[in-house]
């Protein structure tokens, strides 16, 4: 798998987002010292504060404060001499964070203040800090590095006393946003997957007379549900982590498109092909069974007549009893016909439904299942580790398309069996 550059529209929107967050940040305080800022060689970090001067350093008496992306980190230094922020690079957990162009020296705090902004230039560097999250917060140690001459990469040379790196707690996601996101994702999952067994949301429904709970699962719809769920969850996950609304790459839309087109084409084949399920549906209608409600009605009619026959308070006898018995028998035959005819089309479990046809395991189905699961795992891993939806190569997207097309192609003879 290759990773390609984020397309320009997403980049543009991301830039806008960064600009807007920067605009929302407080204007940098004016330097109190009129003298030119220096690039001191020997500095020591004495603490970490927010822009209001609250101590952020973990282990200190007033620790517990957190800092989130978009807020300012003040790296307090042992100097009153104004420093040129462009001489220094902020290191978080040993990883340089470039492009913090709004950094300034706050003489009052004796600190270099870094707005923790995520831009297109430093997005990859933030991945090392924010990626693979295991909680809502994360301890992050801080160091500074002096830039080398003529843009040479900096090394972390400024740390705390005795070379120790002070740390603060980075809030990866606020509990409120995380809660909203969790509710959104759970609601989606419940709606799509929670009702998958009891409704026809992920089922063929080719024979509407079958109880929704017994309808067979549809491979096309399942695949579409997988990609929709993955992309939706990933989008929400990335939004709460990064505050970025533009994390949806165009390839995610292609994945949704392939799965949607596969499901749609499969439905078209089912609807328009002169298939055995269609014959069963039409034949059941001729028996007066147009929907599952009619099956329930017939069952109720049988129960009603049986109750009349066994009613000791008002006994039925003679011709009336024979008539009732005949009506019961006729309805029972109708239900038997119904059960016999729908038997080949009733669900045999999710995996068997989507991976087999009437002849058993079907390669064209199994390959769609395998590719979908494999790509799904890669997708999740990519989002977790890289904080971006993976962009699959054209070849892999073509592979998904070919496997979907093969499935639809094989559905034609499959529907005739």
């Amino acid at each position: 798998m290759t990773r390609t550059q984020r397309p320009w529209p997403a980049f543009f929107l991301l830039l806008l987002s960064c600009l807007s967050s920067a605009a929302a940040a407080p204007a940098p305080a004016k330097a109190v010292d009129a003298s030119a800022p220096s690039c001191s060689e020997t500095l020591t970090i004495t603490g970490l504060q927010d822009r209001d001067g609250n101590d952020l350093t973990t282990g200190h008496s007033n620790s517990g404060e957190t800092l989130a992306l978009g807020q300012n980190l003040a790296v307090v230094l042992d100097t009153k001499t104004p420093l040129d922020p462009s001489c220094y690079v902020l290191f978080l957990n040993g990883h340089p964070i470039d492009d913090l162009t709004q950094a300034y020296f706050d003489a009052k705090l004796s600190a270099l203040v870094y707005p923790l902004t995520r831009t297109s230039k430093n997005a990859a560097q933030w991945v090392a800090i924010l990626g693979s999250p295991t909680g809502l917060t994360k301890d992050v140690n801080v160091a500074l590095g002096k830039r080398g001459p003529e843009g040479a990469p900096a090394t972390s040379s400024v740390a705390g006393p005795k070379g120790q790196r002070p740390a603060f707690i980075l809030e990866i996601a606020s509990p409120l946003r995380f809660g909203i996101a969790a509710v959104s994702v759970i609601a989606m999952l419940v709606f799509v997957w929670g009702h998958a067994k009891r409704t026809t949301i992920m089922k063929d429904n080719l024979i509407p007379q079958i109880d929704p709970i017994r309808q067979p699962y549809s491979l096309g719809r399942w695949q579409m549900a997988v990609w929709f769920s993955l992309i939706f969850t990933s989008y929400v996950f990335l939004y709460i982590l990064l505050g970025d609304l533009n994390t949806l790459p165009s390839q995610a839309l292609i994945l949704l498109g392939i799965s949607g087109a596969t499901a749609l084409a499969a439905v078209e084949v089912d609807v328009y092909k002169d298939s055995p399920p269609d014959a069963v549906n039409q034949a059941l209608r001729l028996l007066g069974i147009n929907s599952f409600q009619d099956v329930a009605r017939i069952r109720a009619e049988i129960a009603d007549r049986q109750a009349q026959l066994t009613n000791t308070a008002n006994p039925v006898s003679g011709a009336s009893a024979q008539q009732l018995a005949a009506e019961i028998f006729d309805r029972q035959l109708k239900l038997r016909t119904y059960e016999e005819q729908i038997a080949p089309y009733v669900s045999e479990g999710w995996f068997k439904d989507i991976s087999t046809d009437i002849n058993g395991p079907a390669l064209h189905r199994v390959q769609v299942v395998c590719w979908t699961i494999l790509f799904g795992v890669i997708f999740i891993d990519g989002v977790w580790e890289s904080l971006a939806m993976p962009t699959f190569s054209d070849t892999l997207l073509a592979l998904m398309g070919v496997s979907g097309a093969s499935y639809v192609g094989f559905k034609f003879p499959e529907k005739q069996q």
């Binding site: 002169d274 298939s275 055995p276 269609d278 014959a279 069963v280 039409q282 034949a283 001729l286 028996l287 007066g288 005949a326 006729d330 035959l333 109708k334 038997r336 016909t337 016999e340 005819q341």
Partner: protein, 460 residues
């Protein structure tokens, strides 16, 4: 002649002229159509005719189904003439036009239509490769059930139409006779076997009745598919108008090919015929017949044969191109010699397997077909196989066929099925009783319930 297997396939409701009238030129040796035959309707002659080619519209003529009640047949045979005179065969077109209005307009010439040999190649090929019988008449000018009962028992016990029979039908049948003589037999059927009405098969039915699919693996009597099966998209292959004859052709081809490729081919006699003419025109007047017993209905003593029906006799002992006749110079209107009829099957089987006395007076005088088996060695192998390709079946077509009300035959079979006990009796069958009344329903409903009841009864 070493015949060990007799296979009978009886299709539905086509006259001899309709299916085989042009098999050979009509001359002294073959009583086919000359093309000059007509019936009058509204003062104008309606001639016999054939289409130049076959398609689903042609293959389902006549549509709607002509009248086939005893009263209809009397009109078809005698028009307005006296029923005591030799039938003029002049009332087919006029009787057809007395049908109630249908969904689509219909013409009097529908019943005057016939198929050319090229349009029904399977039956024509068999007829030319083996023997065609142009003197085989339905046993009575009655509906399906009476004629099928003649084939099974030699009598209809006085019933001229379908559905008026007691169930089970009490007359002793050829099947009972075969069992009594320890001769094995089977009935292969598609949906609802009419012969299941017979009282003396009830005890043995689960042992002897099998679905047609099994015929191909363990090859006797075959019953075609009478109903449209909307679930499996199966079209009837009984050739009953307006069912497409090409599905019947396919059934004949399958039966013949299975027999021809069977190790038992050299010992097999295959009789293909139709139960009755079903309102389709035939120009040969049926002669007077010997009543099988003393039963009568509507003044009819079963003393006249029904309209001529196709009959093809197949065996490697039959010389190709044989025209089998009971009276080579033509039949008298009052016998003897008597023509072939469905009781000829009984006579043939009885003679072949030494089953003793005739069942009744009709089959006692019926000619058997064994005279056709004149080769000393079974050397006429005929075509190695036959095939027919009916038109593709669409769900819409099947649904249209299954939505209509059952025809008389289907309604009768449905009533029979609803009258069957839940399972075949293990001891003495119950006495005959009235059949269940008709239900107003469609073919699909009748087929579904009747098939299930038959499966229960036969424990299949």
């Amino acid at each position: 002649m070493d015949i060990k297997h007799v296979v009978v396939l009886m299709l539905e409701n086509r006259s001899f002229d309709c299916m085989l009238g042009k098999l050979y030129p009509s001359d002294g040796t073959f009583e086919g159509l000359t093309g000059q035959e007509t019936n009058d309707y509204a003062g104008r002659p309606v001639p016999v005719w054939a289409a130049k080619s076959i398609n689903p519209d042609i293959a389902t003529i006549p549509d709607p189904d002509p009248g086939e009640l005893f009263t209809d047949m009397t009109k078809q045979l005698f028009a307005d003439g006296a029923v005591t005179a030799p039938p003029a065969m002049s009332g087919f077109a006029a009787n057809y036009m007395t049908l109630p209005k249908a969904d689509k307009p219909f013409l009097p010439n529908s019943v005057m239509h016939y198929f050319t040999p090229e349009q029904v190649p399977v039956i024509s090929t068999l007829a030319r490769s083996f023997a065609v019988c142009d003197q085989w008449y339905a046993s009575a000018p009655c509906q399906t059930w009476p004629n099928r009962f003649f084939a099974h028992t030699g009598t209809a016990q006085g019933s001229v139409n379908n559905g008026n029979f007691p169930i089970p039908f009490p007359a002793p049948s050829i099947f009972g006779l075969l069992s009594a003589h320890n001769v094995s037999w089977r009935v292969y059927f598609h949906d609802v076997p009419q012969s299941l009405l017979l009282r003396d098969v009830w005890l043995r039915a689960p042992l002897h009745y099998r679905f047609f699919d099994q015929f191909l693996v363990d090859a006797s009597s075959i019953e075609p598919r009478y109903f449209t099966d909307a679930f499996l998209r199966n079209i009837p292959n009984d050739e009953h108008p307006p069912h497409n004859v090409l599905f019947g052709e396919q059934l004949i081809a399958r039966v013949y090919t299975a027999l021809r490729q069977s190790p038992s081919w050299k010992n097999t006699l295959f009789i293909l015929t139709f139960d009755e003419h079903g309102g389709c025109y035939d120009h040969m007047p049926p002669p007077a017949a010997v009543p099988p017993d003393n039963f009568r209905q509507d003044g009819f003593a079963f003393d006249r044969y029904g309209v001529r029906v196709p009959a093809v006799i197949v065996s490697p002992y039959i010389p190709a191109g044989l025209k089998l006749r009971a009276a080579p110079q033509g039949l008298p209107q009052i016998g003897p010699p008597y023509p072939f009829d469905h009781t000829s099957i009984l006579a043939t089987v009885r003679k072949l397997f030494g089953l003793g006395s005739p069942l009744l007076a009709r089959d006692a005088i019926a000619p058997d077909v064994l005279s056709a088996l004149s080769l000393t060695i079974p050397c006429n192998d005929g075509p190695e196989s036959l095939s027919a390709t009916p038109p593709p079946v669409s769900t819409a077509n099947v649904v249209a066929r299954a939505r209509v009300a059952p025809n008389h035959m289907q309604d009768g079979l449905d009533r029979m099925a609803r009258s069957l006990p839940a399972a075949a009796p293990a001891a003495v069958p119950p006495p005959p009783a009235a059949m269940a009344p008709s239900l107003i329903q469609n073919v699909a409903t009748a087929q579904a319930s009747a098939t299930l009841r038959v499966k229960d009864f036969l424990r299949l």
